[in-house]
Symmetry: C2
Subunit: 223 residues, 2 copies
DNA sequence: GAGGCTATGGCACCTTGCTGCCAGAGGCAC
DNA sequence: GTGCCTCTGGCAGCAAGGTGCCATAGCCTC
């Protein structure tokens, strides 16, 4: 098998991936823009997990996958099956799959399908050159480490912060006194303090300092 | 020129990189474990910056480079010359250089030098295959985006937190009242509040909430 | 309309946090 | 020893935060 070759279409990709997964596939690591980037990847990963739970699978996705509720459900299912799912803070225009750290597949540049609803004959590139694969793998690791685990983004861990709570959060973060903040937000001191108290409950904090800490850790102060 | 080839030794690497930089080198993007990963890269980057300031250079390093004061000085110099320097949260075992997004070089696997102080004949891999380069570039982007800018880690931005201040920080973060925290730390209420006030100054905060937020953002609550 | 629910704001009262002032303790130089 | 400096703790007074209580306003249902 050559060290490096181009693949045309999903069928050819699948034909290349399948034997690798069956022969070596101890570890499946992928970065993808969405859930459709690696066709059948989801099904085959599930199959592998079911067959022998020990195999490791890691999937890194663009933040866009969180937008759709159905996609989130699929992600939760994957996580429940033992696949490690993380969400990158930045989009991942190119998809990458590493199988057992020795072979990698990359999606080709984005091309429009020949007809709007016709099959997309995407191209892929496969490489088994150790230097290339390990170099790209190191970059993947760096992206992986700083990505957020799906669990941390789940509904339970991520407190619900609506627009008003966010304004209160911002006011608190600006260092204003309650009097100034209430005036700024056009509400009475009493109501402002009510909002702050609710925020403390939401963040599970016993003091304002602790609430600020949580908010900072959760990145609620940015964006 | 072949799309993909192996290079032995720094001289050969340099011979390959130089014409690319001179011909196309509008952008130099690299990920490295330390300042020695890309020999002469520093000098050549400086040269390019000086010749035409418009050229873009980005360098992503492992956190280990911050350990040595001399290295930090070099990083500061690079930043002062317009090179964007960021520090990854995780080690980057493999070095990677992208030149103008069309050619990439990767360090080979780590090999011990033939003699302890002899020249290290490291191997490198070069590739100009668009799919490989753009795929790896996407991974680099993801790692870059989540890495911390050197400026944010500089001495000015990073407050000095000694052991005692850290204990106070921890007490504040636990949600205790001042009375309980002072008792816990074996100091009087007055002294505890002095420490808290000093901490606020250190963090540049006007309120305890703001201080907690800063501490959370700076990751001072972990480790 | 009456009744009920919810959100808001004003008030009062208490707790907590913040800081200026001063007294004492400990260390160091002379 | 004296003088000086720094750190600490107690006290006092004020500012700020926290919350229970109640009145009012808006809205929905019947």
């Amino acid at each position: 098998m050559p060290q490096h070759m181009a693949l045309k279409g999903d069928l050819e990709l699948h034909a290349r991936i399948k034997p690798l997964v069956e022969l070596y596939g101890a570890e499946w690591v992928s970065a993808a823009r969405d859930l459709d980037t690696w066709p059948n990847a989801r099904a085959s990963a599930r199959l592998r997990i079911r067959r022998d739970g020990a195999r490791q699978a890691r999937k890194l996705y663009s933040p866009a996958v969180l937008a759709d509720e159905r996609d989130r459900q699929v992600l939760r299912e994957m996580a429940a099956q033992g696949i490690q799912v993380r969400i990158s803070a930045t989009p991942l225009p190119q998809g990458t799959v590493f199988i057992d750290r020795r072979t990698m597949f990359l999606t080709g540049p984005e091309t429009a399908p020949s007809s709007p609803h016709g099959p997309r004959h995407r191209t892929y590139t496969m490489s088994a050159e150790p230097a290339l694969v390990s170099g790209a793998y190191a970059l993947f690791e760096a992206a992986w480490e700083t990505a957020t685990d799906l669990a941390a983004l789940s509904d339970a861990a991520r407190p619900r912060i609506d627009a008003q709570a966010r304004e209160v959060l911002y006011a608190l973060g600006s260092g204003m006194t309650d009097v100034a903040a209430a005036r700024e937000l056009g509400m009475s001191l009493r109501t402002y303090r009510r909002r702050v108290a609710e925020l403390l409950v939401t963040l599970g904090a016993d003091s304002r300092f602790q609430a600020g800490m949580r908010a900072g850790e959760l990145g609620l102060t940015r964006r």
